[in-house]
């Protein structure tokens, strides 16, 4: 009796802004795409995010950041994921990220960045593709 390997995604909002509408919309969209979404809500510290990613054994961490703090938060989150042996977990960002920062974030290891108006079903497709690639890579 085997079930398919579900894609598990952590949706978190690091930092201090209180706008979680986008995070909820994407959580719902990924649920409708057949994924298991662990929704942790507002004001998550990098430590909380890394701990939840570890305990929940997620494939993807989705971060909603509207505060402009992405260049401060992401290095710390990526470092903690690596320290917890979670380097293979894909990190994606949704929110407001200036063009200049996008390249820098990608160079750090962020897999994808989605701005306002991004299509939720194409985000789900991207996630499916990156998870399938990672799984076949890891055997």
């Amino acid at each position: 009796m085997t079930t398919e390997q579900k894609i598990r995604v952590l949706i978190a909002k690091p930092g201090l802004d209180g706008h979680d509408r986008g995070a909820k919309v994407i959580a719902r969209a990924l649920r409708d795409a057949g994924m298991e979404v662990i929704y942790t809500g507002l004001r998550q510290t990098p430590e909380m995010i890394a701990e939840a990613a570890l305990q929940e054994d997620v494939d993807v961490v989705g971060l909603s950041i509207l505060s402009g703090a992405h260049m401060a938060l992401l290095p710390r989150i990526l470092e903690l994921l690596r320290a917890n042996d979670l380097a293979d977990v894909k990190v994606i960002i949704g929110g407001i990220v200036p063009d200049d920062d996008i390249q820098a974030l990608k160079a750090m290891g962020v897999a994808a960045i989605y701005g306002p108006g991004a299509n939720t079903s194409s985000i789900a497709d991207d996630i499916r593709q990156m998870v399938q690639a990672a799984r076949s890579h890891n055997g």
Partner: protein, 337 residues
């Protein structure tokens, strides 16, 4: 997989998390791993938390876990939320209310989706409990999906079952219906600071005053477990457990010390009355029965001819055969294969 089991027994939380994924995916590797983990399980005390959506189960789990941590005990948490029957997806939101537990190595929280199970738990809950138990967590808190009236699987999985109620959810007729209230070892009235909380307490007390429900074997309909673990002597012969009503305001951590104490009293009662061992045998019998059932069904279905099934379905649809006769026909044909 061997190294994951060893890593888990050596205290690796990463290995535990990975094994829980394998267990939920019900892979052949999971079976091999569980066979090795099982001898290391059986030490944890299991507390089930169930109740209607919005009664505050997750917040209560958060508060109860803090109480146990203050007493120096490690806590594993399984938080179950429903899978969509349409897309197979799920939003697991219980962690949202458990943020106080972040950063504590003595707490491990895992969210599980039901993946098609209807009894209020996830399909692989028994196995996930086994993994947390083998990893050395002393208390395992199992939070069910928001339950209605008949999701009673938790009574089988937990040593002590808490049924959480909140003010304003029902009248006294709700309290005498069969099902979820009957499985309570402890009734919790959460949000007890609400003005109508005393009405809820009174309604529940009235129900309890009508006398103890018959509760020696809540899964008697499973015939195999009936054979393996016959019900023990009636409550009258042994000491009966008096179900307490505990009031809490989980969001303020109010009342959870008293709740932890009530759980401890129930634990002591189970030991003193000999029910602990009876319960464990009943639980194992029910688990054996459920696993046998699903294995038999799987084996049987694998042998069935799809064309034959579709033809029978046509017959059913056209009222040429009734459902029970169709089953007898399939069984007869299956025996011949």
């Amino acid at each position: 997989m061997a190294d994951l089991v060893e890593a888990l027994l050596g205290g690796s939380l990463r290995a535990l998390a990975r094994l829980l994924t394998v267990i939920q995916n019900e892979t052949p590797e999971a079976r091999a791993a569980l066979a090795r983990l099982y001898p290391h399980s059986g030490r944890a005390y299991r507390v089930g938390i169930t109740g209607a959506p919005g009664t505050g189960k997750s917040t209560l789990v958060n508060s109860l876990a803090k109480t146990y941590r203050e007493a120096g005990r490690t806590v594993g948490i399984l938080a179950v939320d429903p899978t969509s029957p349409f897309t197979g997806g799920a939003v697991l939101g219980d962690r949202l209310r458990m943020r106080d537990l972040a950063g504590d190595q003595g707490v491990f929280i895992r969210s599980m989706a039901t993946r098609g199970s209807l009894g209020g738990l996830a399909r692989a809950t028994d196995d996930a409990i086994c993994a947390l138990d083998a990893a050395g967590f002393e208390i395992i808190l199992i939070e069910t999906v928001g339950t209605g009236q008949s999701e009673v699987d938790i009574a089988r999985a937990a040593h002590t079952t808490l049924v959480v109620e909140a003010p304003g959810l029902g009248d006294e007729v709700q309290a005498i219906k069969a099902g979820i209230l009957e499985i309570a070892d402890i009734l919790v009235v959460n949000k007890a600071d609400r003005p109508d909380a005393q009405n809820t307490v009174r309604a529940l007390q009235t129900m309890l005053d009508l006398g103890p429900a018959y509760r020696s074997n809540p899964w008697h309909h499973q015939s195999l477990s009936g054979i393996l673990a016959p019900p023990p002597e009636s409550e009258a012969e042994s000491e009966a457990w008096q179900v307490p009503i505990v009031q809490t305001v989980a969001v303020d951590n109010w009342g959870t010390d008293a709740l932890a104490e009530a759980i401890e009293m129930h634990h002591a009662y189970l030991g003193r009355s000999g029910k602990f061992r009876v319960w464990e045998r009943q639980r194992l019998a029910a688990e054996l029965s459920a696993r046998l059932e699903s294995a038999l069904l799987e084996r049987f279905v694998a042998r069935l001819d799809t064309e034959r099934l579709l033809a029978l379905l046509d017959d059913l649809e056209k009222r040429r055969i009734d459902p029970q006769s169709a089953v007898e026909t399939l069984l007869k044909e299956g025996d011949r294969c």
